[in-house]
Amino acid sequence: MGEILSTHLPSLLIGQYPNGPLGGLALTLILSVLGLGLAFPLGIGLALCRIAPYAVLRVPSTIVVYVVRGVPLVMLVFWSYFLVPTLIGQAVSAFTTLVVTLVIYQAAYMSEIVRAGIESLPRGQTEAARSLGMSYGRTMRSILLPQALYNMLPSLISQFVSTIKETSIGYVISVHELTYSAGQVNSALLTKPLQVFATLSLIYFVVCFALTRCAHAVDGRITRRRAGVTPLVESKVHDPVLQG
């Protein structure tokens, strides 16, 4: 195992770089950041459409979210592989295909998080803002979204972890990310599949577990800060004596 690690770890972490294309864990992280970063504004847009007062926006966005949630990621990857070049009329790299797929997939899931975030805010927030004379758009932008997004921070980190795991699908269309690199190392060695794939799982575990712990820490902090803002209400709710 040690021998495999010393010779092949670089190709699992950064691929052939600097003598060839960047790959491995580095590419996995780049894909995840790109995918989630681009999905973020799209997800907010979708969420706003889903709670919009107009059926013209609400119905199509709801259909999009349900379709994306009901179809496996692999199928979406194949669809983008086939449709994106057809639609824009030129060849597209596997990397771009994967980023496009991840953005669509994550935007659908993110929109559900944003929607839940907005809907979990007390109704009084909207009512107060509207009675102060703010428009619907202004209420959303200055009152609801800032609070919802702040409360969503832990979910966003969990979503980043999901995205990292989803980039492994790049294996299917030969994007040189971590799982594909492990497949290549395995083909080169031929006789050590257990060690190679155990190493692969371990790398994913270290990265994703660290991020998950981070999400828990942020979650705790936000809960505590929220509790600090309204100490009277909170202490009443959690008082074990009153609860019996």
Partner: protein, 232 residues
């Protein structure tokens, strides 16, 4: 771009047979891994509340590991890696008896067991501690109190995420294509390679997955409503 759709040729021999076989394969893979995941998930969640600290930590570590590693990596580790640990006779038996299906079911089932475990656990947390105390003071053993008092309530409480994860499990069976398992996604890819009817082939698969996913969500709503304890 001239659009000339032809679903008929895909829904006739020889492709129809392959699609039907793929349907059965996906159904078998979903059923086997779901059963493994649910049973193990409930057992693991129960282990976490026995009060033993080492059991609790062990299960927590298992859940963290299964949830932090992508499904594809689990599939590769089981199919290419752990399979080599089996004795030679067992290996050849597995290879002769649809090893892709067996290892894919194990990998998907074990991974999803972590999610089901968390669902049941969150359901258990919703049950007041007095329930357990009352059951024990009535003379029920720990296992019996779990079986007759706590779990039936906890599972009701955890139905919505439970259904959500069942849909995710079903969608994840498509990843077994990477092992060469002849489930729906794999077969549709094969048909597409032979006929070049990409749009039609992908549409068939997409409609299939969408119909089953939405169907499962619908059944979930019905079951949740059916199981609900009527308010008094």
């Amino acid at each position: 771009m001239a659009i000339n759709l032809n679903f008929g040729s895909l829904l006739a021999a020889p492709h129809l047979e392959h699609l039907v076989a793929a349907l059965k394969y996906t159904a078998a893979l979903t059923a086997a891994s779901w059963l493994l995941a649910v049973v193990l998930g409930v057992v693991l969640a129960t282990l976490r509340v026995t009060g033993s600290r080492s059991l609790d930590r062990g299960v927590a570590a298992w859940v963290a590991y299964q949830q932090s590693v992508p499904m594809l990596a689990h599939l590769f580790l089981w199919y290419f890696g752990i399979s080599t640990l089996l004795p030679a006779a067992a290996q050849s038996w597995v290879n002769a008896n649809n090893g892709e299906l067996i290892f894919a079911s194990i990998a998907i089932g074990l991974c999803m067991s972590a999610y089901f475990c968390e669902d049941v656990r969150s359901g258990l947390r919703a049950i007041p501690h007095g329930q357990q105390e009352a059951a024990r003071s009535l003379g029920l053993s720990f296992v019996k109190s779990m079986r007759y008092v706590i779990l039936p309530q906890a599972i009701r409480a955890s139905m919505p995420p439970f259904i959500n994860h069942t849909v995710i499990l079903f969608k994840n069976t498509s990843l077994a294509m990477a092992l060469g398992a002849a489930e729906m996604t794999y077969v549709v890819r094969e048909i597409e390679n032979q006929t070049f009817r990409t749009f039609e082939a992908y549409t068939l698969a997409t409609v299939f997955y969408l119909a089953v996913s939405l169907g499962l969500m619908g059944v979930g709503v019905l079951v949740t409503r059916r199981l609900q304890i009527p308010a008094r």
